[in-house]
């Protein structure tokens, strides 16, 4: 009986120090809170370059150009291969020959064209000028991507009615 009573007395936990910690974490997290819808998933295959650009990103079709593949809105579309460059002898990422249709990347063109048509239909139906199709596309490109791949991707996007490129970069402090 005596033992049980002693336990009852000790039920109050002192949480003051925990509260202190939580308050500091809360303030810190509120500071880094951001409501932008553009998100990157950094990995070994995707490291964005740093830049002094200050413009805030806005929502658009999201094209990710990693070392091994191309993704559109998170869905893998094309797998890239490595080819040895004849001049320098370096191994460079390249679009496989079987995917190319002239200068277009066939599979990517299909997907982007579909996206453009969807966005256009949505814009026509809504009558809201903010939702009208403007051909914007966000490009998240790995910093070591050779320009030959980027050029093919930009050309394909251009063919699929996306003419306004927005290169996503890390903001320099």
């Amino acid at each position: 009986m005596k033992k049980a009573r002693r336990q009852e007395v000790d039920t109050n936990l002192n949480i003051n120090s925990m509260m202190d910690m939580m308050t500091i974490i809360l303030v810190f997290l509120l500071k880094s809170y951001s409501a932008t819808d553009v998100s990157v998933a950094p990995s070994d295959d995707l490291t964005l370059p740093f830049s002094s650009a200050q413009k805030a990103p806005e929502v658009a079709v999201n094209l990710v150009l990693e070392q091994g593949r191309i993704l559109v809105d998170g869905v893998p579309v094309v797998t890239l291969t490595k080819q040895t460059d004849e001049k320098s002898g370096k191994e460079l990422v390249a679009v496989p020959e079987s995917e190319m249709q002239g200068q277009n990347i066939g599979e990517l063109y299909e997907v982007l064209y579909e996206k453009a048509e969807q966005a256009k239909a949505l814009g026509d139906r809504s009558n809201n000028p903010d939702l009208a199709f403007k051909g914007r596309i966000l490009l998240q490109v790995d910093k070591e991507m050779p320009y030959s791949v980027l050029r093919s991707v930009m050309y394909t996007a251009g063919q699929a009615q996306f003419g306004e490129f927005k290169f996503v970069v890390y903001k320099q402090e």
Partner: protein, 181 residues
């Protein structure tokens, strides 16, 4: 006396509801927190094809500026503004000899990484060109096939503004051209 005793008996504030609130808020804020700041660089559709021939400047009128910067493995070449870059006349090269870039790599030969390119001198030259053409805001980047994306972004940054000169706007409208096919 009785009142005072009551106050001593209950000095603890009940923090449990605040704790509950904070514990829920923290996971939510961690989810929404962004630890890297993102920004975007605008660019429009490049023209695919061979680089356009720049017309020879007429002596009587100021020719329009068609500024291009070629990014190659050996350095940076500024095209379309020869009279400003070479005030003493363009250096002559023998027929068939490969022209060296305007701004070769710092280490000489081929550039090893981004820092090896001479961005500082490029910015100085662009400042000079901007002095001559204050209304022009376009620049065309012509990268090589194996030029890394990082170098293109760095060139865009260098051409956009000059942080050393009170963020003077240089050539903010950058178009990436088709490059040498």
């Amino acid at each position: 006396m009785a009142v005072k005793r009551k106050a001593i008996e209950d000095p603890d504030l009940n923090l449990t509801p605040i704790m509950n609130l904070v514990t829920i808020l923290i996971p939510f804020l961690i989810m929404a927190a962004q630890f890297v700041q993102l920004s975007v660089i605008d660019s429009t559709l490049p023209a695919i094809g061979p680089p356009q021939e720049v017309e020879p400047p007429k002596p009587d009128e100021k020719p329009p500026l068609q500024l291009s910067i070629a990014l190659t493995g050996t350095g940076l070449t500024i095209l379309g503004a020869d009279s400003i870059i070479y005030p003493d006349g363009k250096p002559e090269f023998a027929e068939g000899e490969e022209k060296p870039p305007t701004l070769p790599c710092k280490s000489g030969g081929s550039c090893q990484n981004v820092e090896d390119y001479d961005w500082k001198t490029l910015r100085e030259k662009l400042n000079l060109i901007k002095d001559e053409y204050p209304d022009d805001e376009n620049v065309i980047l012509v990268p090589n096939s194996d030029t890394q994306y990082e170098i293109i972004v760095r060139a865009m940054d260098t051409a956009r503004d000059d942080p050393d000169a009170d963020n003077r706007t240089l050539f903010p409208f950058v178009v990436v051209a088709g490059g040498a096919m």
